[in-house]
């Protein structure tokens, strides 16, 4: 290889494959392939798309073609669903390697995972399962987060779960557990406001006091989604984090309370089942964008920091 070619090759290996779109203050939606034709002809490119990392872990094919196309025009958020960070057993190194390859390939604006687990022994349970909050699980989860962050060489945002049961063995609250994880690992947070509402309803606690105890200054992304209603053994309301409908009014209200306090944060509307036509999902994101824009000039977070 001649000198120029070597130089160019070296430059190409460090150069970005995609434009560095800013995700600050934007609302976005989950990327669904049935919406792709509508998205590609949409002239309004304001917003972002979030993808479930596992759907893009094949070697090639239409998923990568679609994501490459989207990533050229929009910031992308990479959302891992099954790293099992909250699991009792060591992380799956093969899976971690695949995750890193996606981060390297698509240069996402945000990278996130869940405070939950889905694999035990060799079985993958395809759900976000709960864990007790104890010093032992705290140490284990912190190690897992460290391991992921070292592998991908950037911090992740950790998402608060929606839960239906409690572990009597827990010795600390979820918000305390999350605060300690942030302190130990330097990770950021993904605040799922629907999960806050679902869990608070299911556990007979207050969503507002959860938010008051949540370290909002570390939140790098917000999730909004729809939920469904069932009942528990005692006949009381049990909410299911179903992602199959519009965002509930109560969740919009909580979202606005968060944004008033923190200023605009990238916000995603999730809709993963009974997926509507693109204009309906786009309208949900537009509603979130309107709230973000409304509070864009009141950087309350800055004022709060200055007054400390």
């Amino acid at each position: 290889m001649n000198e120029l070619a070597t130089h160019l090759a070296a430059r190409a290996s460090t150069a970005s494959r995609f434009p560095a779109h800013s995700i600050a203050s934007l609302a976005g939606t989950s990327l669904k392939h049935e919406h792709l034709p509508s998205i590609l002809v949409d002239d309004n490119k304001r917003g972002f798309f979030e993808v479930h990392a596992e759907n893009y872990m094949g070697a090639g094919g239409p998923p990568h073609q679609a994501l490459t196309r989207i990533r050229r025009d929009y910031p992308v958020s990479l959302h891992g669903v099954c790293m099992s960070i909250g699991g009792a057993q060591p992380l799956d190194k093969t899976h971690l390697g695949r995750f890193k390859a996606l981060v390297d390939r698509y240069e996402p604006a945000l990278v996130s995972e869940h405070l939950a687990w889905s694999t035990h022994n060799s079985t993958y349970f395809n759900d976000l399962l709960p864990l007790p909050y104890t010093p032992a699980t705290l140490a284990r989860v912190a190690n897992h987060i460290d391991q992921v962050q070292e592998e991908i060489r950037r911090p992740i945002l950790l998402e608060n779960p929606s839960t239906y049961v409690v572990f009597p063995q827990s010795t600390m609250s979820e918000t305390d557990f999350i605060r300690k994880l942030v302190k130990r690992t330097g990770c950021g947070l993904l605040l799922d406001v629907n999960n806050v509402f679902v869990s608070a309803t299911n556990h007979g606690s207050s969503a507002l006091s959860y938010l008051a105890n949540f370290p909002l200054e570390h939140v790098g992304e917000i999730h909004l989604a729809g939920h469904a209603e069932q009942s528990d053994d005692e006949g009381d309301l049990l909410l299911i984090d179903s992602h199959d409908g519009p965002v509930a009014d109560a969740v919009w209200k909580l979202f606005e309370i968060v944004i008033v306090q923190s200023g605009p944060i990238p916000t995603l509307v999730e809709w993963d089942s009974a997926i509507p036509e693109w204009p309906i999902l786009k309208a949900e994101a537009a509603a979130a964008q309107a709230i973000l824009d409304h509070y864009s000039h009141t950087s309350v977070r800055g004022i709060a920091n200055a007054s400390r």
Binding site: G58, S118, T123, V165, D233
Partner: protein, 266 residues
């Protein structure tokens, strides 16, 4: 007990929540785990059922998404009942759901209530191969011009590299016709044939294509994909199918994009 051992033991004990939580997830006859409850002493029965339901329904949905023609043939209720048995007996071992369902066609073949549809398992095998092809690595297929650069006298010793998305599925039934009729949205006409059909599943660009191969085509391409020379592969096809047409098969497989590179043996 040595202090370190003691520490390890108690850590393991305190991290036992996953081992406690999982056994009843796929087994409706088991009681919910004792390590959980509802808030303020409420019971966890229906609450734990949310997780059971998420796991089971989520995996049934994953199979339904991978095997749409199979589902269309059996109908929704039949398919979901069949899938539920399979999900409980054989849950996934990979977090990538597009890698789930490799054992499902064999399960269908043994499934008591599907015995009057002996071709159903082969339709499911085509669908499983379809998804492999969909996610396979992207590569440019071999052009007819590239093959033409090999001298005629070298052709018999030439070998070809298969495209990552190429799959062959042989059936004793008209599985390709049944697959094709049920994979699309349109009305399903009566399938008259009862002849065996071999399928080529391939994705040279962004669309997965399922082709019904001519006689001997599956033997010929399978030998080539295994690295045999053109000469040996053609002889094997001719041996099994005396009416094997070499030029039709070569033209067809190059046109379909089954191979990516050719090398002449020397």
């Amino acid at each position: 007990m040595h202090p370190v051992e003691h520490q390890l033991y108690s850590l393991k004990d305190r991290l036992g929540y996953a081992a406690d939580f999982t056994p009843a997830l796929l087994d409706p006859d088991r009681a919910p785990p004792a390590v959980i409850s509802g808030p303020n002493g409420k019971t966890a029965g229906k609450r734990y059922n949310v997780y059971r339901n998420n796991v089971t329904v989520g995996l049934i949905n994953a199979l339904a998404a991978t095997f749409p023609a199979t589902k269309r043939i059996t109908g929704e209720d039949f398919f979901r009942a069949m899938a539920r048995f399979h999900v409980r007996a054989t849950p996934p071992t990979s977090p990538l759901l597009f890698e789930y369902g490799y054992d499902f066609p064999d399960f269908i073949e043994r499934y008591e209530y599907a015995q009057d549809m002996p071709w159903l398992a082969d339709v499911a095998r085509i669908e499983r191969a379809w998804l492999d092809s969909y996610h396979a690595a992207d590569e440019k297929p071999l052009t007819p011009q590239a093959l033409a650069t090999i001298l005629p006298e070298q052709l018999v010793d030439a070998t070809l590299t298969p495209h990552p998305s190429a799959r062959i599925l042989r059936s004793r039934f008209p599985a390709v016709s049944i697959f094709a009729a049920n994979r699309s949205e349109g009305p399903v006409g009566r399938i008259q044939s009862s002849e065996p059909e071999d399928a080529l599943i391939i994705r040279p660009g962004s669309e997965v294509i399922v082709r019904h191969l001519p006689p001997g085509g599956a033997v010929f391409i399978s030998h080539l994909m295994a690295g045999e020379t053109l000469g040996i592969s053609a002889a094997a096809a001719l041996n099994d199918y005396p009416d094997f047409d070499l030029s039709v098969n070569i033209t067809g497989m190059i046109e379909a994009g089954v191979f990516t590179t050719a090398s002449h043996g020397d």
